[in-house]
Amino acid sequence: MSAIEQEAGGRGRPPMLALACCVLLVIVAVLGDIATPYAKDFADLSATLAPPFWQDGGSLAHLLGTDTLGRDLLSRLIAGTRISLLTAGAAIFVAGTIGVLLGLLAGYAGGLVDAIVMRAVDAFLALPFILMALALVAALGSGVENMILVMIVTNWARYARLVRSEVLSIKGRDFVTLARIAGLAPHLIAFRHILPNALNSITVLALLDIGRAIILESSLSFLGLGIQPPEVSWGLMLADGKAYMSFAWWITTLPGLTIVATVMAFNALGDWLKLRFDPRAAL
């Protein structure tokens, strides 16, 4: 990139609203149960199906209303943030690590190793997510750990493919050639030179993936295959309120809106980062 393109690259400031949302979500996830006004499974049977405070019948005691068992929605949303972000984060981290390592191996070693890894990648990308999830849950049972496992299995291949193509393009650059001339061992070249230069793309993929992972987790939990009570997840909340949509819309809709907002915030951040790393995409 010429000096001019580098200087003009990116729009400078990140999207502030999205950034604020992401930061808020992370803080809430870290605080977890401490931040909830009520315990997440505290059932106040005297205040069931209370609407949000801006509607008739709502009160400031339960800002976003309660569900059929009188559990405060706001508290459950806050508690669910931790689960959702944590499972998404863990899944991406492990899937990413596996995918990056395999992608590095395939890209740098080439030949037969490359062929084997890429066929595995193709196979995993070809399998429909729901079927795999169902099969794994049937074999291992539901619950947080198994759900994370499902998400890892269905996600690693995308990282592998991305990293492999990055490796192929970085491999041709002179500094790699010079490292070979210096006598550096191949695995050191891969980790010290190639991986850091591929980090930009990996980070962008991971950020964009958070939204995807959250949706995966919510879907699984909604189907009853993921998070189980008494743990709270946005997906579970969606399922809880399904039957009451016509007269207690807030039980399902508010968790749904939270999911949408979260995914959009992380995607916006990921998009901005992508543009910032490659300003040519904007021109």
Binding site: I4, E7, A8, G12
Partner: protein, 322 residues
């Protein structure tokens, strides 16, 4: 060299800035420059000189991230005030551009014939487009044009592709052809051929040609006039031979001296100490001052003004000595 004819294209106070905020990049600053009909003008400079940006600004091909100040007059009209429809018409008939990298300028999915036909159709020529296209290819000295017509870009060498691009650019006898580093990606032996071709285009159609290049020797052989740029500004502008035999600006002198030349059957090389300034942190006054051997106190304070008519130079030293 005064001419009664109005210039084909002229700019006054042209400036291009990239990026906003704390550190904008002044790619081009305060450029006043004209091209007459049928002239071959070379714009020379090194990295950071702004020559490619100037080139793009002249035909309204700047990226959106760039902000323009000043004016570009084409054929007496403000080029940037023209409607998009009119701009398109100008680009179809009168303005043409050839870019640096012939490898990426042609669509790899279509044959040469397809792409040439597309251009001919847009320029509204009727009749047998294939025959016209092949005649065009022959005119740019492409060997075996009938064969090339049905070949794909990857089957042609760099030099051949560049010829095809020139054929496409000159399909409608444009009034202005802008070539941005047309020979940089090509081998030394082919470069000369391409330059000759550009001169042929001028001789055949009276097209004005602007060639942007860092290769001074190449420009010397083909251009009527040379413009030297440094850090976004014009530093010298005059007839080719005058600029080469009696350069008035220290940078021009240094640049010419840096070309390998012969002395007693031995090659001599020299350089200009230092490097090109950072375009986001330009000093007040002359940008070349830090590297210049004859510096006056004014050089560090104010931009030099132009002196001389047919052969302009922007230098306080030159003004003092003239």
């Amino acid at each position: 060299m005064t001419s009664r004819e109005p210039p084909l294209i002229s700019t006054t106070g042209l400036g291009v800035v990239y990026g906003k905020g704390a550190n904008p990049v002044r790619a081009v600053a305060d450029v006043a420059f004209t091209v007459l009909a049928g002239e071959i003008v070379g714009i020379a400079g090194e990295s950071g000189s702004g020559k490619s940006t100037l080139c793009a600004a002249l035909i309204r091909a700047l990226p959106r991230a760039a902000s323009l100040s000043g004016e570009v007059q084409y054929g007496g009209r403000d080029l940037y005030a023209v409607s998009p429809g009119e701009l398109r018409r100008l680009r179809q008939r009168e303005l043409a551009m050839v870019l640096q990298n012939p490898m990426t300028s042609l669509d790899p999915m279509f044959t040469i014939g397809d792409q040439l036909t597309e251009v001919l159709e847009v320029r509204d020529s009727g009749g047998d487009l294939r025959a016209k296209g092949i005649a065009l290819l022959r005119r740019v000295h492409l060997t075996a044009p009938e064969l090339r017509w049905s070949q794909y870009p990857h089957q042609l060498s760099g030099g051949m592709k560049q010829r095809v691009l020139i054929a496409m650019a000159t399909a409608s006898a444009p009034r202005l052809l802008v070539a941005d580093e047309p020979t940089s990606a090509l081998d030394a032996t082919i470069q000369e051929e391409i330059l000759l071709l550009l001169r042929d285009v001028r001789d055949a159609h009276g097209t004005a040609v602007i060639i942007v290049s860092h290769d001074l020797n190449a420009l010397r052989r083909v251009c009527d006039r040379i413009v030297i740029m440094y850090a976004g500004r014009v530093v010298e502008d005059g007839p080719t031979e005058a600029v080469f035999s009696a350069p008035r600006h220290p940078y021009t002198r240094g640049l010419i001296a840096s070309l390998p030349h012969l002395e007693d059957n031995d090659i001599v090389l020299s350089s200009i100490p230092g490097q090109v300034p950072d375009l986001t942190r330009l000093p007040d006054g002359c940008a070349f001052a830090p590297r210049c051997t004859d510096v006056l106190p004014t050089c560090g304070l104010q931009q030099p003004l132009s002196s001389g008519a047919g052969h302009r130079v922007f230098c306080w030293m030159a003004e003092v000595s003239s």
